[in-house]
């Protein structure tokens, strides 16, 4: 039975990958639509990273836009001032973000849920201030930061379709990494902490250590996504790293469904499409997130994935009851 379930999941993943490969064709090669698809890959990695933190280890962050900024600016600055190729500096920037995440988690891991959310908001604000008032204006402050688009050892990703396939490879690699982490001793420690911190500690889990690991992993994911954005667009503006960006990540993760592989993907796709559709109402973005979050929290706590699971369980139960009656 376990094997059947496993191969079923594998099949679903394969279908998803095939569909994803065909996306540019399905979109008729439209450059704009492919750009949207590129953003979906970036947001999928961001929301999945946040899911490691929130969905699995049960810690909230309302400031992950900070890591998105560290990834984007970090990769750009390393490339601009140290001459490291952007593709390499993306990984270095993500690693730096992971380190900063770990340092932040060191004191933050002691905080209770709502204090943690306040602390991460403050952290987001600090990074925003640094970006807008940088020493020697290296980030370009309010003028924004320009960089040439991504090329990987001479392979120029100079159109959205090419970048989309690069993004897709990144998504697959990051999701494999996420799966390996959450289905292991480390992942079990995360979930145990989420479910019952006291008991986790009593069972030998070094709670602080695993909270720090979860923070570092999620920072790495989100920062890498942030550096992908720079490689795609070639321009960063501080206003992309306002509080609402952090709320966007949280909304995507919760709307799709936390503590799952598919949830953050579904969240990233649906909310990115929604946002593009509602571009003309840009000033109402926070309102839209607010409404979506309320819907999720009040009406479907497990997000879309959770709702689908509930419906499936309901059908199975009804079928079982029917069988019972017939017998």
């Amino acid at each position: 039975m376990k094997n059947k379930k496993l191969s079923g999941n594998l099949l679903k993943c394969l279908v998803a990958v095939v569909v994803a490969l065909l996306v540019p064709v399905l979109l008729g090669g439209s450059s704009y639509m492919c750009l949207v698809a590129c953003f979906v890959t970036i947001y999928t990695i961001s929301a999945s990273g946040l899911d490691v933190l929130y969905g699995y280890s049960g810690q909230i962050s309302m400031g992950h836009a900070a890591f998105y900024a560290i990834g984007g600016y970090g990769a750009g600055l390393l490339s601009e001032y140290l001459g490291i190729p952007l593709f390499i500096s993306m990984f270095i920037a993500a690693a730096i973000a992971a380190l900063i995440g770990a340092l932040l988690a060191f004191p933050a891991s002691k905080l209770k849920f709502h204090f943690l959310s306040l602390a991460t908001i403050a952290f987001g604000e600090i990074i925003y201030q640094i970006v807008t008032n940088s020493p020697g204006r290296i980030t370009g402050n309010y003028n924004g930061f320009f960089h040439s688009k991504l090329d990987i050892f001479g392979l120029k990703l100079d159109n959205n379709i090419k970048f989309y396939y690069f993004g897709l490879v990144c998504v697959v690699l990051f999701l494999i990494a996420k799966t390996m982490i959450v289905r292991s001793r480390t992942g079990r420690a995360f979930i145990a902490i989420r479910e019952n911190t006291q008991a986790a500690e009593g069972m030998g889990v070094n709670v602080r250590k695993y909270k720090i690991i979860a923070f570092a992993v999620s920072a790495f994911f989100v920062a890498f996504a942030g550096s992908m954005y720079l490689g795609l667009v070639g321009y960063l503006h501080p206003d992309m790293y306002l509080q609402k960006q952090s709320v966007l990540f949280v909304t995507m993760m919760l709307f799709g469904g936390s503590a799952s592989l598919a949830g953050p993907i579904i969240g990233a796709i649906s909310i990115e499409i929604l946002l593009e559709g509602l571009r003309t109402f840009e000033e109402y973005q926070m309102l839209i997130y607010g409404i979506l979050l309320l819907i999720v929290i009040v009406a479907m706590p497990g997000g879309i994935v959770g709702a689908v699971k509930n419906i499936k369980a309901g059908i199975l139960r009804r079928r079982a009851q029917k069988l019972d009656k017939e017998v």
């Binding site: 982490i181 292991s184 001793r185 079990r188 986790a200 069972m203």
Partner: protein, 251 residues
């Protein structure tokens, strides 16, 4: 196995545990009884690292462990269960036991991420080992059920076996039969014997006097945070102070 010497803990002005010295001998079942609010659970928390005693020493297996963090105490060979059931409710029965094995395992973040050969081998061992523990308490048919969906009595059993999965030298049980049905209670003596046969020493808080008198080798009685009496069950049971404390004859 375990010796405490004058363990005291104060919360503000309240002395919840007052100069308690006990000795838990290897291979025995030691009971800890006392009326509600006597400080039994608080005493467990002092031993298992949840609280650092204000005074006194806790010597476990020859080492001073007072003030050690709970996860270190667990790794040192002491497991425990909780009075209020503290399972990982959304995890399955099997996963709960897997977490119980945490301190015995060696894989780390990198070997998990990269699925190194040692990690794969260890995970295979984990699955086999959890089978053994599920059978130990008869939960093998419930392996994929969420812990929170089990009956109260089964949750108690799962908590015990989750503790045992770390292969401890000593297990602390806080009111293990509370919430069990009469059949489960009846079978509990035998389970305790089987735990002893694994080479695990037991220290147990329990209100069920029949059980305590039936299985314990030695009993301590706490009242208002202080030791009131100690000895073999018959002696403690017939101690007039203990009888008075239980009848609620407050002083």
């Amino acid at each position: 196995m375990l010796k405490t010497d004058g363990v005291t803990i104060r919360f503000g002005g309240l002395v919840a545990v007052n100069k308690v010295s006990i000795h838990v001998r290897k291979g025995q079942i030691t009971g800890l009884i006392g009326p509600n609010g006597a400080g039994k659970t608080t005493f467990f928390n002092c031993i298992s690292g949840v609280y650092k005693p204000s005074e006194g020493h806790v010597v476990f297996d020859g080492k001073n462990i007072e003030g050690m963090r709970p996860h270190k105490v667990n790794a040192a060979g002491m497991a425990r269960t909780y009075q209020v059931i503290n399972l990982f409710r959304k995890m399955t029965v099997q996963e709960n036991i897997m977490v119980g094995m945490h301190s015995r395992l060696k894989s780390n973040f990198w070997s998990d991420l990269l699925r190194l050969p040692n990690q794969r081998k260890e995970e295979k061992f984990v699955r086999e080992e959890t089978e053994k523990w599920m059978e130990f308490v008869g939960l093998q048919d419930m392996r994929d059920h969420e812990a929170g969906s089990l009956s109260y009595g089964k949750q108690r059993l799962l908590e015990i076996v989750r503790g045992l999965a770390s292969e401890p030298k000593l297990i602390l049980l806080d009111e293990p039969v509370a919430g069990m049905n009469s059949k489960e209670k009846e079978e509990f003596d035998a389970l305790l014997r089987r735990i002893l046969n694994l080479g695990v020493t037991i220290l147990m808080i329990e209100h069920d006097m029949k059980l305590v008198m039936g299985v314990c080798d030695y009993v301590y009685c706490l009242e208002h945070g202080s030791l009131l009496a100690e000895g073999v069950p018959e002696v403690v049971q017939n101690n007039p102070d203990v009888i008075a404390a239980y009848l609620g004859g407050d002083e």
